[in-house]
Amino acid sequence: MAQTQALAIGTSRDGARRRGGSIRTRRAVTAYAFLAPAMSILFVFVIWPIIDVFWQSLHNTTFLPPASAYSGLTNFRGLFDDPQFWTDLRTTAIYTVVTVPLTMAAALAAALGLRRNNLASRMLRTVYFLPALSSLAVMGLIWGYLLTPNIGVLDYWLHGLGISQPDWLGTTTWALPSVIAVGVWVSLGYDMVIFVAGRQGIPEEYYEAARIDGATGWQQFRHVTLPLLAPTTMFVLVTSVIGAFQAFDQIYVMTTGGPLYSTETLVIYMYRYAFENFEIGYGCAVAVVLFVIVLAFTAVEVRMFRRSQTRVY
């Protein structure tokens, strides 16, 4: 049972122990020594730039012409007054809400179905992981080409099957679903590999014990796999939601946010202002708002997993 407490962020059974002050100090020093290399790199090369982004969001920084003056909350006011921002927020939310559960369910099924080491499993796993091994920019171009009316072979075949669609990526009705399908295609392999690794971390003894007690396959999944996979699932959920909110590469290459902004996500919006109009300060304000949203989602997810653990065990 001890390990189940440690699943939730920040709890550790060591904390419950009573120890002498000097030992506790020594253990803290050890812990900081383990943390030092990674945390110092993160502070210098990620946290510091993040602080800079926050600072820029309060300035009207532009590249052309180069200028920067304190502007208070002007960027944020401009952002909240822009109807395009709200449309893009909605698009990003739809993308996330559809892509994440679909990908996670399919990835878990694929991971459990393909966890053996026979040739068929090895090959299928490699196939599902191919998108993760490829350049998203190139694959976005290829998907875009395959779906182009008249010249894309996939569009041509779908026509032959009677699925007629004038233009997959060129109509406001179908562009977002197409982009979502490619999004699932992109991230399924990652999640599958993480679930495979997580499943392999569950000792076989637990399944043997369950089988001896007469548990069916579904019962083993429900009462052994799912609860013991909770730390893995939490990781996949938190990082998938963050990743979906930041979706950019393949969408930008396939549609550049169009047609009529129907596939424009928040990061594409940010990119448009920061790197096409060179309004860096405004772009940073978008990043700050995105950050706050993602942080709130993460806090809810972490809390959800803490609660589910007290219920399961």
Partner: protein, 297 residues
Amino acid sequence: MSAVTAGSTVGTAGGWSSRSRQGSPALRRCARGLMWVTLAVGGVVFLFPFVWMLLTSVKPEGQVITYPPTLLPRSLDLSPYRDVWSQIGLARLYLNTLVFAGAVTVLSVSFDSLAAYAFARLSFPGKELLFWIVLVTLMVPIAVLIVPLFFENYEFGWLNTYQGLIVPLAANGYGIFLLRQFFSTLPFELDDAARVDGAGDLFIYLRVIVRLSGPALAALGIFTFSFNWNNFLWPLIMTSTDSMRTLPAGLALFSGEHEVIYNMMCAGAFLSMLPLVVLFFFLQRYFVRGIALSGLK
């Protein structure tokens, strides 16, 4: 020890009848068949763009865009490969990419696992706050961080150097989070047993935790390596000379803004992916190998 834990897990689930309800063998075979058919059909969908990529890479230019569109080439043409090889200096690109992605992978898997050990197995003041800081590092898109990072590397005099490419990526919040989740599932009895025998934290980290986390470490290794192998924006912005360029930036020359030379782009993309696919195919055995707690007692 494991028997005790297993017993309590089963106990909480409870209520299983002793009568086996596994279903008839025929039904189970049918379900298995259905599962494999689904997985295979999904596999075809996943594979399709790569098949198209490979077949397009051996098409002569005139056959790339045709009506009606065809999948198979009518005649084979290997000149896209020859042109890619000769036009962009592929050998140098491979070497740079290998050095960059390889060094980032070795450093960040090491540093991430050290930090994950502290988060998963040790107690110290400020733990919750520091862990949230790790999560925060994932929450701002890299596209916007790259501007301040460029100026930071400029201040350090690291632009267009290997250290400027590698050091800023030598630790990763994603990796720390992933490994922390895996490390925290290993039974704490293992640490206690080792401590009773007089082992220190470095020993426990290396000989117990890392040894038992093969699948997670292999997964993180392949993620980090393939992500940086394909990393386009970072090396493009931090380097300025041809001798420092990596594969994605070199290959981008074939997919310009207005015109894409599809057969050459596909040949380049295939050559770039091939080492990763081979690597993944053979590395898999490390992350499907289950852990054997019983062997440790």
